[in-house]
């Protein structure tokens, strides 16, 4: 089992305008088991994106430690940003190939399973937002990462499109399991997708609750069950209501 241990003791920002530094993350600890799908739920602006940037190696000014249990190295990270961040001057296929060494069969399989088989040679400007996001997800899967980070990848999609994208993501993830950290502030989305929910509070960010989702994966499409689970969460853990 190749677990991932995340231990961030302190992450602070100093803004140029005032000299006091602001602590964004304090004592954040998380352990991801192999192929575990974790949703981080918390108010916007609580530092989730900062956390993901640290995990992706884009922000190195923090104290703490991130390591895979087997190799004690930093994980190879596939990052699905909130904006798709595709290279507009490269086609869908080129965008995916540039970020990974995926074989053409893998690429075709991924495009097929995300419903984008016909868009291989399309430039991103001709894709809808939902499609661009799916391409960004494929790009992350294609590199076969140790850890997949997803920063609200389905925000601002209309509900049917978002549901379809969630379903495609889960189908793909079941076929190609990876450790996933999925940031969202939509609790229904989190319950639909996650093995485990992590509730965060802000200023500075730290974990207040970890709750496993007990609904079997086969019943996650049942919206009544999701809603029941959600209502039960509010009864069992009233403190999370303030976060949403």
């Amino acid at each position: 089992m190749n677990n991932l241990t995340i231990n961030i003791l302190d992450k602070s920002y100093t803004t140029p305008t005032d000299k006091n530094s602001k602590q964004v993350i304090k004592n954040f600890q998380l352990n991801l088991a192999n192929n575990e799908f974790i949703c981080l739920v918390g108010p916007s602006g609580c530092g989730k994106t900062t956390l993901l940037n640290i995990l992706a190696g884009l922000d190195e000014t923090f104290s703490g430690n991130i390591a895979l249990s087997e190799s004690q190295t930093l994980p190879k990270v596939g990052y699905v940003f909130q904006n798709p961040r595709l290279l507009p001057w490269r086609t869908v296929q080129e965008n995916i190939e540039l970020a990974s060494e995926a074989k053409i069969e893998t690429l075709d399989f991924l495009l097929e399973s995300m419903g984008l088989a016909t868009e291989k040679n399309t430039f991103p400007a001709h894709l809808s937002l939902g499609m661009s996001r799916r391409v960004a997800i494929i790009r992350a899967f294609a590199m076969d990462p140790d850890l997949l980070l997803m920063d609200e990848p389905f925000v601002s999609l209309d509900p049917p499109t978002a549901r379809q994208a969630q379903q495609l993501l889960i189908d793909l993830w079941s076929k190609r399991p990876h450790k996933v950290l999925f940031v969202t502030h939509d609790l229904r989305e989190a319950i639909t997708l996650a093995d485990r929910l992590i509730f965060l509070h802000s200023n500075p960010m730290s974990v207040i609750r970890e709750i496993p989702v007990s609904i079997p994966r086969s019943e996650r499409q049942n919206e009544v069950k999701i809603e029941q689970f959600r209502q039960q969460l509010f009864i069992d853990y009233p403190e999370i209501t303030t976060l949403l």
Partner: protein, 250 residues
């Protein structure tokens, strides 16, 4: 199709109006110093037939392309570095301001004085004149690079050359084209001065000769040839390049 047709009609009309005005003015003034387009065309044909024009034009074109390539390559490299490194930029910015403001003539004279009346000195003088312009233009582009895409490249562990080729270069493309266009316009003017002052062939040398002979028709004939050439470069090389690089836009 109708639009393109109308446009080419307009272009034709505009050029013939220009020629008609020129012809009219030459006719009215009837002076040695303003030959008519017909006279100029005759001279142009004789010069082409004698091989003189193509000889001198190719010399100039050779100097133009060598100095242009060196200035663009160096300018892009330095521009990218300065655009990405704030401290280095602050340090070298003053040098840049100095070089931007040295008159072209001064650079040319100094190059000839220091390095002799040689081909290398001539090309060096043109490069030094053009380089600061390229650097400034490319630097603007390198400053405004999309950090989101650079972060993406870093996260997905793009190598340096991959980042340069697929992330940075396409963003710099409009700036490179701007530097190319303004550069071409600037360089050929400087090349002529360089040739006039210290070379024994090329357009600049010929123009100087015609000036001493007061041969305005030849001067105009060479000018027409040069304008055609530069327009040819724009239409046959730059436009298709531009079109290819912009194909991803909606």
């Amino acid at each position: 199709m109708g639009f393109i047709y109308r446009r080419s009609i307009l272009t034709l009309l505009s050029i013939s109006t220009f020629l008609a005005l020129w012809q009219g003015l030459a006719w009215y003034l009837n002076a040695e110093t303003l030959p008519s387009p017909v006279t100029v065309a005759k001279v142009l044909i004789t010069e082409i037939q004698s091989g003189q024009l193509s000889y001198h034009l190719s010399k100039t074109l050779y100097r133009l392309s060598i100095s242009f390539s060196i200035a663009m390559l160096l300018g892009c490299a330095i521009g990218i570095v300065l655009g990405r490194h704030q401290k280095l930029n602050t340090f070298l910015d003053n040098w840049l301001v100095i070089f931007l403001n040295i008159p072209a003539l001064v650079t040319i004279i100094l190059c000839y004085v220091w390095f002799g009346l040689t081909e290398t000195a001539a090309i060096l003088a043109v490069v030094i004149n053009k380089l600061p312009n390229v650097i400034v233009t490319i630097r603007e582009g390198a400053r405004s690079l999309d950090t989101e895409l650079l972060d993406m490249a870093k996260c997905y562990r793009f190598s340096k050359s991959k980042t340069l080729r697929h992330v940075i270069w396409p963003q710099l493309h409009p700036f490179v084209m701007a530097a190319t266009r303004s550069g071409l316009a600037l360089i050929w003017k400087i090349v002529l001065v360089v040739e006039m002052l210290g070379r024994s062939d090329g357009m600049g040398y010929q123009l100087h000769l015609f000036f001493q002979l007061f041969d305005v028709a030849s001067i105009l004939a060479y000018t027409v040839a040069f304008i055609t050439l530069i327009q040819g470069i724009e239409l046959l090389i730059l436009r298709p390049l531009d079109k290819h690089a912009q194909r991803w836009r909606r």
